[in-house]
Symmetry: C2
Subunit: 209 residues, 2 copies
Amino acid sequence: MAAREVPNIVISRLPLYLRALEFMQREGKQVVASRELAERLGVSSAQIRKDLSYFGEFGKQGSGYQVDHLILELKRILKVDREWDMALVGVGDLGRALVHYEGFKGKGFCISLLFDNNPEKIGAKINDLEIMDSRLISELIPKWGIKIAIIAVPPQEAQGVADELVKAGVLAILNYAPITLKVPKHVKVQYIDPVVHLQRMTYYIGGNN
Amino acid sequence: MAAREVPNIVISRLPLYLRALEFMQREGKQVVASRELAERLGVSSAQIRKDLSYFGEFGKQGSGYQVDHLILELKRILKVDREWDMALVGVGDLGRALVHYEGFKGKGFCISLLFDNNPEKIGAKINDLEIMDSRLISELIPKWGIKIAIIAVPPQEAQGVADELVKAGVLAILNYAPITLKVPKHVKVQYIDPVVHLQRMTYYIGGNN
């Protein structure tokens, strides 16, 4: 099955299904109906069935999905049945928080290279990882074969860092800076944008503050 | 129009429309077709038209939307045509990064109260904001009338903090800790989860790392 055949919007929903299923797995659930998964996620069960149907048959009509099996299959489809090394650029407050973040464990990701352009930080260590000079991005990223990078620099530096990362062979960027990045079509960018999440909640708050 | 009538999933998409429109506004665009907005966002133009139709008529058939007008309307609908004070709990690396975050400006949000339970931090100031003792959550949050809080504490403390915030009258929580919070039905929670965003990109990366 060629990757191109699955709409981006379907791929974007699979991590949400995976997260909900892993939560159910921790609760001890072994089988789940698409309707139940749908209720947790606030989507329709028809959508879940249709999304999953791009990748084959995962459950018998009426008997629900095997939670463990579906988790393994989603991890395989999303290619997080392995661990991806990532480069982090910008070791300020946010960067340090990300190095210590406990949420990457077991989810397919590991921060393996740190970069900063501040001479006072270069050479220092966090969690046994040495902070490298950002000027070495073009050398170290290809050497390590790293394809994923996290940008945690100030907004005015983010585009320059993105350009460097793309030249070094990075194919996926998680951007924490509040700006929209321009990258070539073959590079994926995702944004961590707390504003979008906050704006999803204010609608429901009554009154004028 | 009662809030209940609009599906959650529709509300969850409005901030994405708003963000794309604000980006187009900065590019100098005055009118946009739903098809163009749809292409930017990777959704269908029918969906955008249907989502917006819950709130009235925003464009004439075939002539597109006035960018400035639609931005104002979306801000009004999402109640971000004002500025919401927020409380931030947990002033570690991440918390400090959030206090300095430039992306809240002009988007409807402002961090106005800081809490931490570390005696060495209490009383210190960041950006002219004094860090308050977390034990004062139940007193200061109602006093300030704060309805939105950000949780940036370690995962093992997050549920306890959420319970305190809910008791103090908070109605919306943005949670950075990698755990699922249990809250009453009247409280909204959104998660900042870098893993979901990373897993949306790995699918597209060829090879085995």
